[in-house]
């Protein structure tokens, strides 16, 4: 490893869907890189290819789609050359992922504790007590109170916000270097959303965990990230410091996107009465 600073490098990534003839290209030559400990945001509307890009890093694309070109380097190692077995070591170990739906991403018939420990059981040879100790630690870190008690519970006994915290605890327990978060706050209420964002920031500060944060919500991205990629129709439209992109957007699409965010500076109502 000559260059120790880069955490993730994606070079000229192409992704295609195979169930049409000819295959439909949904990600078209996307390149970006992340430094260690950075929070990078990817923003885009549905169909922009942001989720496909995120899934392809751990090769979690559905069977009807695949990477048709490009390179993904994680800590200067080419993940494309990894076998499925080697990738399993990386998944949930050095790279963890959390999803939008905290309801469906947890297994309803397993206790919260066993699901958080899953990463440790797969990637380490720790004793049961040690695993439990670490799981509880991770839960506390994820802001779950009374972790000992929650450890025994099942997902349906928790609220949406708590479930997302459980997901985060499960992701953190193996102390990953990169956390990929795909719309983790979209399904949550605004007040809970704010808490989860604070939590992610805190984790980043404390452990230097790099976070790749994917969202359709520009306001959320602005609150969390330092740099942002704007994706549209499978391409990176614009990339740069969040404030720069937001205050001085260069591309037409970014401007349109920014103009569409509902805000309290303007009312669509032309006429007042009452």
């Amino acid at each position: 490893m000559q260059n120790g600073r880069k955490l993730l490098e994606v070079k000229d990534l192409n992704i295609e869907f195979y169930d049409t003839t000819p295959p439909e290209r949904v990600v078209k030559g996307v390149s970006f890189s992340m430094e260690k400990g950075e929070i990078l945001g990817i923003v885009g509307e549905s169909g922009s290819g942001k989720t496909q890009t995120a899934l392809s890093i751990l090769r979690l694309l559905k069977s009807n789609s695949g990477i048709s070109g490009g390179q993904i380097l994680f800590k200067d190692r080419d993940l494309g050359l990894y076998s499925e077995q080697e990738l399993e070591q990386v998944r949930g170990g050095e790279i963890a992922m959390i999803f939008q739906e905290p309801m469906t991403s947890l297994n309803p018939v397993l206790t919260v504790g066993s699901q958080i420990e899953e990463g440790l059981s797969l990637h380490t040879k720790l004793s049961a007590e040690e695993r439990k100790r670490r799981a509880i630690l991770a839960m506390e870190e994820a802001g779950l109170q009374r972790a000992e008690e929650l450890y025994q519970k099942y997902p349906h006994q928790l609220s949406g916000g708590m479930r997302q915290r459980v997901m985060i605890a499960a992701a953190l327990v193996t102390e990953p270097d990169l956390l990929i978060a795909d719309e983790p706050t979209t399904a949550l209420d605004v007040t809970i959303q704010a808490q989860i964002l604070e939590l992610l920031k805190e984790i980043n500060r404390k452990h230097g965990t790099g976070i790749l944060f994917i969202s359709h919500d520009l306001a959320v991205i602005r609150r969390l990230c330092r740099r942002v990629l704007v994706m549209n129709e499978g391409r990176v439209e614009e990339a740069g410091e969040v404030e720069m992109v937001f205050e001085h957007p260069e591309k037409e699409y970014t401007r349109k996107l920014l103009a569409a965010i509902p805000n309290r500076r303007e009312s669509l109502r032309r006429r007042r009465h009452g």
Partner: protein, 236 residues
């Protein structure tokens, strides 16, 4: 002041097995003619139940609901469940007129006029919901509601499942149609910014109660309840 709807001290109970939960606690408000009234609150606050009670899908355990127009129409959050997947858009839009026994040529005329006016385009009438985008489907729902000639519309989170740019188009469409026709809309949303942009007056709901109501500017610049203050802080 003329009203299209009066809700007087309405409570509703939700039963699941043995446990009873009060989801609405003595809610009172009225919807005026020619206004967009916003109803804001987080999930589980009872705002969706309220719309169901108004439409008669859920019975109120107490209180009274007075409609001053014929039945309101509804626009739902999920544009994928609100249109019948097996029917063509033209059929869906004609259905309310068909039920009212309006002759075929008159039906077709009204539907295609309305489709053109709302930017749907006539070619869409021969497609099925599965072939449309979320935004197009929501447009179809709005057109269907307007074709009924109802003076009062309830919109339950109509834009929250849509992308921002589409969201904006649908919001603009609703505002311009409201201003043109002078109908009333009860606009339900969890998003304060959307509520600000759309509404004249606002109701804030928490745990089945209305904790604040008033003119939009009033509520956003000078909130009285702790809850609204907290919401304003957390909303970007």
């Amino acid at each position: 002041m003329k009203y299209v709807l009066e809700v007087k001290n309405v409570s509703a109970i939700y039963r699941e097995g043995r446990t009873e939960k009060t989801v609405l606690k003595g809610v009172s408000f009225e919807v005026r003619e020619n206004e967009i009234l916003g109803l804001v609150g987080e999930s589980g606050c009872g705002k969706s139940t309220l719309s169901k009670v108004i439409l008669g899908f859920v019975k109120a355990s107490q209180g009274e609901i007075v409609h001053h127009t014929k039945m309101p129409q509804m626009i739902f959050q999920d544009p994928y469940s609100s249109l019948n997947p097996k029917k063509k858009i033209g059929w869906i839009l004609e259905e309310p007129l068909r039920i009212r026994k309006i002759p075929v040529h008159e039906r077709m005329k009204r539907v295609s006029e309305m489709a053109k006016k709302t930017g749907l385009g006539e070619e869409i009438l021969t497609r099925r919901p599965g072939e449309l985008s979320g935004g197009q489907r929501q447009r179809v729902s709005i057109v269907a509601a307007l074709l009924q000639g109802s003076r009062f519309l309830i919109a339950d989170e109509p834009v929250s499942a849509l992308d921002v740019t589409i969201q904006r188009q649908i919001m603009e469409l609703m505002v311009s149609l409201q201003e043109e026709t002078g109908i009333s809309i009860l606009f339900i949303s969890h998003d304060l910014n959307v509520i600000y942009q759309m509404c004249d007056r606002v109701l804030v709901m928490k745990d089945g109660e209305i904790v604040e109501k008033g003119e939009r500017e009033e509520i956003f610049s000078n909130p009285q309840s702790d809850y609204m203050k907290r919401l304003l802080e957390t909303m970007p």
